[in-house]
Amino acid sequence: MKFIGHLDVMRYFQKAIRRAGIDIAYTEGLSPHMIMSFASPLGVGLTSDAEYMDIELRTPISSRAAIDALNRVGVEGISVTGFYEVPEGKANKAMTLVAAADYIVRFRAGYEPERLQRSVQEKEAAACAEERIDLASAVESFCARREIPVWKKTKKSEREVDIRPMIYEMRYVPVMEQSKAKAESDAEEEKTAANPGAVFLRLASGSAANLKPELVMDALLGSYGVEASPFAYEINRCELYADTTSDTAQKTDESVTVMCAGETRRLTPLGALGREIL
């Protein structure tokens, strides 16, 4: 599904909702359209375990029934995992609520930068002119930096930005700990010595501050003079969060805390903002 663009994913859900017979609300006017919005458009090429969208219903339906109905008419590769009622004030606002996102970045088999490959050390450590980089320690020392200035391109200009405050968490993920689904299907591939492991990222996301995982990875490798080839990263979005620091009513077990510009902030997965409809 990673080849389907955001607008087409929306079209997919518009048609799926009709097939499932879910009584969705429409806008008024001459050309009515479904009241539906996505929290955060996913780029082509990325996979995700955590896409969220808001819809408004005319007739209530239980979470179980809605999930079953949508998955019954769905395709392989897109599944509905949750359906929650969102309290007043947070309804139809997913897009403005998004504050952070989790990602796992792996290296696509065959595209691992050479100096990161574990096999290099054993094979020709001595012959290798440049030193091998250990991804785990590279991530550790990268995170230890106070500032990480990078050149960020916008439509109009290119400017230097410190991305460090937008990285809430970053850690090395050993080969076997990576996303379970991936590990099963690609079990063979995982074992190959070329695989340097993966990186977990919790980054600022949304309209206030937004950091792309590719940019962090480029900066990480760039600090060792390594340039990743196109298609080198395989990125999976794992979760989207709202910032619930000031919202005392919103305390769930799923919330996490992060440090942002010296302050503690509480992030809550978007799904945990709503409640199951029985």
Binding site: F3, I4, D8, K15, L30, V44, V73, G77, F231
Partner: protein
């Protein structure tokens, strides 16, 4: 998960990767070991065009209902992927299984327009199937062609193992059963083709021979073996109501041209316009019953989730239950925010009423296809639309709030004069005048009249099949006359004029009425890089001129010549119901400027009554 034929890197570096991944809603997956026949159904153009075609959806559904057949889809890779596949030697694959086409039992290619012929070669080439039928090995898929262009299969004769002439609903079962039996017996390819040639409607070009007179015209077209039929019978599905129709058409991920449910309300047309091939080869006109249409509409809307349904036919206004189906759709679906689209409607009180219910009047436009500017020329082509009807329809529409009108015409028709061409501008002007007769305060701003002309291409099995075409310079002169005359009109600011390229028209003319000698030209042009000729950004006329030159085929022989009535035409061996005698009679009546009544008014004895059904057996008013 299905494994894709293309790597992530390739898919992420080309336009619209979703064209190549399959897995759409309602696409059919089967286990390849559990079927006897694997059929790859191809529309030789890009995915968005191919996925919009109703015929393939019908056959896809029909074939897959058979447990022993798995029908999959394949389309032309766009030029970006085409290059990558050639560079990296990646074989063309089917969307569902992502398996190479080369491993299939059949490759079926639908031929909907002439300008896709080089794409046919592309599909064969990328699949690793020899382009020439005679060079194919035992394990190659059987390459079968169908669709309207198969009514003159000769320009493609060398590339196909067989052609299916006519409507797909009738003899595919017989062909599949024969194939299975032959496979079981271990019968060689050539013998299978020989046996297939005896199934009505199946034409095996390699079993026939064409000889030519010194002047280049055909001397004889004969079967090479005694038990091969000399005449191939067009296939017709006579009972439209019980004909197979998909309950669950495929829903593409990306937006395709026809992004809606398509409901075929009838097949054929009673009108008998003399330039129109569809109006002749789909005779007799056959309607689907209202109750079956309602059922199909309900099922398809439920299974696809589409937000629009379109009624399809050559002339929807002639469908006898039109108010019934339209009112049903409005009552049942308007609340559910389903749009109803009604192409090919005649503009009259009923259609205006319906259109005002289902469309936003201010945004939509009215379409008229007078096809010729003067009444004289409309009589020549038997287009029963009069100026009075057009003006009255436009007047009613303008009073109803419409202010956009589209007019379609053809240039280069037989007997056409300067005066006929200038009349196009005059008709547009009179429509504009009708609009400005309405008091200013009741008008909706200015009116917009768009005049579009295409150049006439004589097609096989039409009364104008003997006509000559013109040189590119002449065609442009015709368009200039129209343009010049429009600019001289009082209301010229309300009239826009579009015209087509002339050189594509000539090539289309060659393919439409070509014979077997054209195969070499197509092959040569393809080798020179011709591909996607229907797309302006890919079209290169010089390449084609070089190909004609290199092969030594004179293009003018096919385009600049009025055929004599006793000439053997390349498609004469196909029997379509409408007789050559009738077509000759119509050709003469065209020159006499005499109109032939439509099938509901009076039977004109075209020959389609031989099928004993449809409009031919209905009571006339």
């Amino acid at each position: 998960m299905r494994k894709l034929a293309l790597s992530d890197e390739i898919l992420l570096s080309i336009e619209k990767p979703a064209r190549y991944i399959g897995g759409e809603v309602n696409s059919v997956m089967k286990k390849k070991d559990e079927v006897a026949i694997r059929f790859a159904m191809c529309f030789p153009d890009v995915y968005e065009i191919g996925m919009s075609h109703l015929g393939i959806q019908i056959l896809y559904d029909m074939f897959n209902r058979r447990e022993d057949v798995w029908c999959e889809r394949v389309y032309s890779p766009w030029v970006d992927l085409d290059k990558i596949m050639r560079d990296k030697k990646i074989p063309l694959f089917a969307l569902e299984s992502q398996d190479p086409i080369r491993a299939f039992d059949f490759l079926g290619i639908t031929l909907q327009y002439e300008m896709c012929y080089t794409n046919v070669l592309q599909v064969l080439d990328l699949s690793g199937i020899p382009l020439l039928s005679k060079e194919r090995q035992e394990d190659c898929p059987i390459v079968i062609g169908g669709g309207p262009c198969a009514y003159n299969p000769e320009p493609l004769a060398a590339f196909f193992d067989l052609f299916y002439i006519g409507e797909g609903e009738t003899v595919y079962d017989a062909l599949f059963d024969l194939y299975k039996a032959c496979k079981k017996e271990g019968v060689p390819r050539q013998e299978f083709l020989r046996r297939a040639a005896r199934i009505p409607g199946i034409y095996v070009p390699s079993l026939y021979e064409t000889t030519y007179h010194e002047d280049g015209t055909i001397a004889a077209f004969t079967p090479l073996e005694a038990d091969i039929p000399a005449v191939v019978e067009k296939q017709v599905q006579m009972d439209m109501t019980d004909a197979p129709y998909p309950d669950a058409p495929i829903v593409p991920f990306i937006k395709v041209t026809q992004d809606r449910v398509v409901l075929e309300i009838q097949r054929g047309c009673i009108r008998g316009c003399r330039f129109c091939q569809a109006g002749m080869i789909y005779r007799p006109t056959r309607e689907r019953s209202l109750s079956c249409l309602k059922e199909h509409a309900d099922r398809m809307l439920a299974s696809t989730g589409h937000e629009e349904i379109s009624l399809s036919s050559l002339s929807s206004s002639d469908y006898s239950e039109l108010p019934g189906i339209v009112n049903y759709l409005i009552e049942e679906y308007q609340d559910k925010k389903i749009n109803i689209s009604l192409p090919s409607l005649r503009i009259d009180a009923f259609s205006l009423d319906v259109m005002s219910k289902v469309q936003d009047v201010r945004k939509s436009s009215l379409t008229f296809a007078p096809e010729a500017g003067s009444q004289r020329l409309r009589n020549v082509i038997n287009k029963g639309l009069t100026e009075e009807v057009i003006l009255q329809g436009a007047d009613e529409a303008f009073h109803g709030g419409w202010n956009k009108v589209k007019l379609y015409f053809m240039l280069g028709l037989p007997t056409e004069t300067e005066e006929d061409r200038r009349e196009i501008a005059h008709l547009a002007e009179r429509i504009a005048e009708k609009y400005y007769e309405i008091p200013k305060e009741q008008r909706n701003g200015k009116c917009q009249i768009t005049v579009s002309t295409s150049f006439f291409v004589p097609k096989p099995f039409t009364p104008l099949q003997w006509a000559s075409m013109f040189q590119p310079g002449d065609y442009l002169g015709f368009a200039k006359t129209v343009n010049h005359e429009i600019k001289a009109m009082l209301n010229q600011k309300s009239i826009r004029y579009n015209w087509h390229h002339a050189d594509v028209t000539l090539l289309e003319g060659v393919f439409a009425r070509g014979d077997r000698r054209i195969c070499d030209v197509i092959l040569d042009a393809y080798r020179r890089g011709a591909l996607y000729d229907a797309w302006t950004e890919c079209w290169d006329y010089d390449r084609w001129l070089q190909a004609f030159e290199a092969v030594g085929v004179d293009m003018d022989f096919y385009t600049m010549r009025e055929r004599s009535l006793d000439e053997i035409l390349p498609w004469d061996f196909i029997r379509v119901g409408v007789s050559k005698e009738f077509l000759k009679k119509e050709w003469k009546k065209a020159h006499e400027e005499t109109v032939t009544p439509n099938c509901r008014e009076q039977c004109s004895g075209c020959g389609a009554a031989a099928y004993h059904g449809g409009v031919c057996t209905m009571k006339r008013a």
